[in-house]
């Protein structure tokens, strides 16, 4: 692969932005939850699923997407949203429940909708798949060269919607790419206890479509596999399923006691931090200097800080707004 430097630098920037975003969110989430951890308190209440460690999947795929391509994410949506170019300020404001948020505070962290960049997500495991299929159907019906991507987890791959969605996409030869994040866990249930075969990519056979397993949590490997699949989809070649081995650094949600997880697992996973590795790669291959990367680090920090500042300073919606927007006019 011959990837332009600009692209590589953007990948780095996006990954760092995601990581910083998630770490900043983890802190914000803790606010008001000390000494008593109460999920309902603080500036960011409710459930919180963070994706630190899983940056390569989101970035490696979304680097190939245009603004008008559609992405449907999951309950753990921030990395996808950021990689797809969702307005970071309004996204953060949404997560803070503010009226300036993408959904005026109605959706929160699992319900981020940015129609400008065709991003949506959902708190229901497996729900993304048919919806991305439908976006692809719309594109195909209108003969537009647009692509839809459904992200979902290894746990979601055992939902019925996986089967139905992949079959529909295959028979209709739709421009959609299915991307499964294999982070080995669905909350406390390890993949090998939930999934009859070791790789969901092998389930491609059941739909007569290509299936690719990316066995390392590496943005370049993802980028390569995704590039091919997205291009094939865009050219009318139909769907692909890509599964990527990736790592969840945080608990399933913030506050997860993680009793089910081997004590040292996270520690071990972090040895293989995909951002650190990518950084090293960029430097060792003389693609970027420490200084250049430092600049990107700073840029990422600035973006994240601005987004959180915007969110914090934004007002809450008026309570009566709760009654609006069940329907549009």
């Amino acid at each position: 692969m011959n990837i332009p430097k600009e692209t590589l630098m953007r990948m780095y920037l996006e990954m760092v932005t995601i990581r910083l975003y998630e770490e900043t969110m983890a802190e914000a989430y803790q606010e008001g939850k000390y000494p008593v951890f109460n999920i309902a308190s603080g500036p960011v209440p409710g459930e919180m699923h963070l994706a630190a460690g899983q940056e390569p999947v989101a970035v490696g795929v979304c680097m190939h997407l245009k603004k008008e391509d559609a992405v449907v994410g999951t309950h753990r949506p921030h990395h996808f949203a950021i990689a797809k170019g969702v307005d970071l300020k309004r996204m953060t404001a949404e997560i803070f429940g503010k009226v300036t948020g993408l959904g005026r505070g109605k959706g929160g962290h699992m319900h981020l909708f940015d129609p400008d960049v065709h991003f949506s997500c959902s708190g229901i495991v497996g729900a993304s798949i048919p919806q991305a299929v439908g976006a692809a159907l719309a594109f195909k019906m209108r003969k537009e060269k647009r692509v839809a991507v459904a992200f979902f987890g290894d746990g979601a791959a055992n939902q019925g919607t996986f089967h139905e969605g992949l079959n529909l996409a295959a028979i209709w030869k739709l421009p959609v790419v299915f991307v499964c994040e294999d982070n080995s866990w669905a909350i406390s249930v390890p993949k090998e206890k939930s999934t009859a075969i070791s790789q969901n990519a092998d389930r491609a056979v059941a739909y007569g479509i290509p299936g690719v397993y990316v066995g390392e949590n590496d943005v370049l490997a993802v980028y390569e596999a995704a590039g091919e699949a997205i291009e094939r989809a865009r050219q009318g070649g139909g769907p692909t399923i890509i599964e990527v081995k990736t790592d969840r650094f945080f608990g399933h949600f913030q506050g997860d006691p993680e009793v089910y997880r081997p004590k040292d697992e996270v520690q071990r996973l972090k040895q293989n931090d995909p951002i650190k590795r990518f950084r090293k790669y960029l430097i060792e291959n003389d693609i970027a200097t420490e200084n250049e990367l430092k600049q990107l680090d700073d840029e990422a920090r600035k973006r994240v800080e601005e987004a959180f500042l915007f969110a914090r300073e934004s007002p809450y919606p008026a309570p009566e707004e709760a009654l609006l927007h069940v329907f549009v006019e």
């Binding site: 319900h111 927007h325 329907f327």
Partner: protein, 339 residues
């Protein structure tokens, strides 16, 4: 609202015509579902569309309701205006998550930024011995969950106008047609399943109940087959000097509470007829509306005639026992007048 017409159509044809007109008018409109193509829909609601618009806009699907209803949502969010058929409403349980957690809620979660112009059309109703997985109405179930408009036509005229309104609505609509009212050759034919339908497109606003018959002694409030049965009963009761007002709600969401209140103000007595299950459903909601907002006008307990909380049984005597009918309505009205 529209020129007087002498042309008569069945409700099934009226629905298919409405869809056809809108497909001509708007390239974003398309149909998908099981057997909607060559077959023309098991209940004929898409008859002729495949021939006219071809397989690209009239799409036969696999039996994957969560898949294709979810896909309809995805397409709607990307600017299409799908009409998706769930063959029998009774099958909703395989696709309900896409319906009520996504189709019904995405607009709200997005603070109004996402439009979901989608019509989910589906067959409801029993009376032909198809048992409890093929005979339910379930409008109460859908009306309970916010985010879907719930439309239930009772005449071919309404069916066409409400369907056009549904297609043009930027919000998701569940459109429930009653099998017994469609005018299908292979169902028990009732005379009002064929009725005058203007050729041109027209809309009927949601949330406007219709007084199908004026009366002063008692109000019967219903939808779909219940309206038809109420009108039959009203004729019967008229012979005995009882004057019945019949109110057809036409849509459960939005619900025309004002019309409910107005009819109570006039007659002071209410019978709700509901082919859906009795408890926690439409009949309860109408009764509650009455006691909340028209309490002072009410002269007798509200009465409810609905399926008595049993799955619809197969055998004819059993099914007839649990379904509303005009003779049961006659009896209920008489009881109501005695109380």
């Amino acid at each position: 609202m529209s020129a007087i017409t002498s042309r008569k159509l069945t409700m099934a044809k009226a629905i298919a015509e409405a869809i056809s007109l809108e497909m001509e008018r708007d390239p974003r409109v398309f149909v998908m579902g099981e057997d909607v193509g060559v077959y023309g829909g098991i209940f004929g609601a898409t008859a002729g569309l495949y021939e006219k618009f071809g397989p690209e806009r009239v799409i036969d699907t696999p039996i994957s309701e969560a898949g294709f209803i979810g896909a309809a949502l995805g397409a709607a969010m990307e600017g299409m205006r799908p009409i998706v058929e769930l063959m029998f409403v009774d099958f909703f349980g395989v696709a309900m998550d896409q319906i009520y957690n996504h189709i019904a809620k995405n607009t709200y979660f997005s603070g109004g930024n996402i439009r979901v112009p989608l019509v989910l059309m589906t067959a409801v109703g029993g009376g032909y011995n198809d048992a409890g997985q093929h005979s339910q109405c379930l409008w109460g179930t859908f009306a309970h969950l916010p985010g879907l408009k719930v439309v239930v036509p009772s005449t071919p005229y309404d069916a066409k106008g409400l369907m056009i309104s549904a297609i043009r609505d930027d919000n998701p609509v569940i459109y429930m047609f009653h099998k017994g009212l469609l005018g299908l050759g292979w169902m028990t034919l009732i005379k009002d399943s064929t009725g005058p339908v203007p050729e041109e497109p027209y809309t009927i606003p949601f949330g406007k109940a219709e007084v199908k018959r004026e009366g002063k002694d008692v109000s019967i409030i219903s939808v779909a087959m219940g309206v038809y049965q109420a009108l039959e009963a009203a004729k019967e009761l008229e012979k005995e000097g009882i004057s019945v007002e019949v109110l057809d709600l036409r849509t459960l969401v939005p619900l025309d509470r004002e019309a409910i209140i107005n009819t109570v103000k006039k007659t002071h007595r209410v019978l709700v007829v509901d082919e859906d299950y009795l408890s926690y459903g439409m009949s309860g909601e109408v009764a509650a509306t009455v006691v909340e907002h028209a309490f002072d006008y009410l002269e007798a307990p509200v009465k409810r005639l609905a399926v008595p909380d049993v799955p619809i049984p197969y055998s004819r005597p059993l099914e007839q026992f649990v379904l509303p009918s005009s003779s049961k309505i006659v009896n209920a009205v008489k009881e109501l007048l005695r109380s």
